[in-house]
Amino acid sequence: MKILVPIKRVVDYNVKIKVKSDNSGVDLENVKMSMNPFDEIAVEEAVRLKEKKICNEITAISIGSAKSEETLRTALAVGADKGILVETEENVQPLEVAKILKEIINKNSPDLVLMGKQAIDDDSNQTGQMLSALLGWPQGTFASKLEINEKKINVTREIDGGLETLNMELPAIVTTDLRLNEPRYASLPNIMKAKQKPIEKISPGDLNIEIKQRLKTLKVTEPPKKESGIKIDSVQELVSKLHDEEKVI
């Protein structure tokens, strides 16, 4: 079975970003970038399926600037076999990401696409669902458990009320939630080996995809800051504040 894992290079989750003073966007100069954490979970799951011999080939794909090659190398170091970089300096929004992925899928025919539920920069949470609709494939979003049985897969999903399990036939799209697994770190020897693994480079134009800015950025602002509060010594005082002053209890 072949697995495709789309990965996005994003601001590291530990970075507290700053809005540019001209309100045109977020300042990403000299900021630490990493693989989107949900995509790390997707790569890890693919590698585990390979270790269980359910999968025999993992392709990682990233759409973004030349620097996304680093992110692909990280996936290769963890256990992906090869990479595809769809290189563009433009900001690619989810529908176009999904269209690019669809073209790649039509060429590579994977049995399973494992991807993140959400990229932590734009917080869109769309691409997997869009891709699944474009391909007419089943979708198992926000997955916390996978059970693969020959050509069928059971996906346990994290939903607002608890958990839900769906059964679908492969090929399918699965998007990962936090509890699916705990990603490993790449070992030094594997990081070295990853340098030899192949990365194919193409452009959106090669796939006849036109990048559109359907959602135009007008202004990026910092959310209003909260005034800092006060420290209170006793529980009694807290309760009286909440009861008598704030009247929230």
Partner: protein
């Protein structure tokens, strides 16, 4: 053109999230329609038709819609879409699962998780875990939108008299089959619409210790939430998680207990009206957003809090 709202419900009752979404829809256009897809869900349709301002309610009653499988629901919305300029759903796991499919079928972008409506094509949404707000303009002919429900009031279920239209049986696309669900039953209010929330983090140390929070929640009629660390450690189920990638809440009062206040957690609760933090580390970032902070051991403070609450309630 009218606006269509996809209603979230459990086949019996409307979810509060739908009522907030209707309010958002009314800000876009006076003419609001709704669609209810489910099984034996006519009661939900009747409730919606009574909401003020709802002109028409479509009800698609069929076993294939019972469990809200996205592949089954999205084509029905797609088929209705040509009459509408905007289609809205709550930004819950229900809406997030379905709406991007509708957008892709229509070949338009989805605008996720809007917090304000500036005009028919201009919206504000949080990005980077709420550390920036993006004002954007959509150039697509149709707007597919999910709504951050905490930013819009709930529409009342009264004063309306919408026309009810049944949608005929559809064929099962047969892509995903529902196997089972494990829903956490609770008599407490739902997190996303609760007036008071008390949440626990890794500092709670075990699932058993959450009973300390539950005791207080009972007294305050509050919902119980958690940080990711508490969920990952198995103290509480996944649907307790508040944050960037969990639930977004904005109650009148949010009490964070043994939670450090990572950006991802703050993203889900910083719009709460009053925030109280209980943490033994006075440097914990949660204190930067707290209106009232108590530095100390939660195992000492929670029982005291419970006792003090008895005093004001008696």
């Amino acid at each position: 053109m009218s606006v269509l709202v996809l209603i979230e419900h459990d086949n019996q009752n409307i979810k509060a999230s739908s009522l907030n979404t209707i309010t958002a829809a009314k800000k876009i256009d006076k003419s609001v329609h709704a669609i209810v897809l489910g099984e034996n869900c006519s009661k939900v349709g009747e409730q919606i038709s009574k909401c003020e301002g709802i002109e028409e309610v479509f009800i698609a009653d069929n076993s294939i819609f019972k469990n809200h499988v996205a592949e089954n629901i999205s084509p029905v919305i797609f088929e209705l879409s040509n009459k509408y300029s905007h289609i809205l759903a709550p930004s819950s796991t229900f809406g997030k699962n379905i709406m991007p499919r509708v957008a892709a079928l229509l070949d338009v972008a989805q605008i996720s998780d809007i917090i304000s409506i500036e005009s028919n094509d201009t919206f504000v949404r949080p990005i980077y875990a709420g550390n920036a707000n993006l004002k954007l303009q959509s150039t697509d002919s149709k707007k597919i939108i999910t709504v951050r429900t905490t930013n819009f009031e709930a529409t009342k279920i009264s004063g309306g008299n919408g026309k009810i239209t049944k949608i005929e049986k559809k064929d099962d696309p047969g892509l995903s089959k529902f196997v089972k669900n494990e829903l956490n039953k609770s008599d407490r209010p739902e997190l996303t619409s609760a007036g008071i929330i008390i949440s626990g983090g890794r500092g709670m140390e075990s699932g058993k210790n959450f009973s300390l929070l539950e005791e207080i929640a009972d007294k305050l009629k509050a919902a119980v939430g958690a940080s990711r660390a508490a969920v990952d450690a198995g103290f509480v189920p996944n649907d307790y998680q508040v944050g960037q990638t969990g639930k977004v809440v904005a109650p009148e009062l949010y009490i964070a207990v043994g939670i450090s206040g990572a950006i991802q957690h703050l993203a889900g609760m910083k719009d709460s009206k009053i925030i109280v933090a209980i943490n033994k580390d006075e440097e914990a970032p949660i204190f930067q957003v707290a209106d009232y902070g108590i530095v100390g051991d939660l195992f000492k403070i929670l029982p005291e809090l419970s006792k003090e609450l008895d005093k004001i309630k008696s």
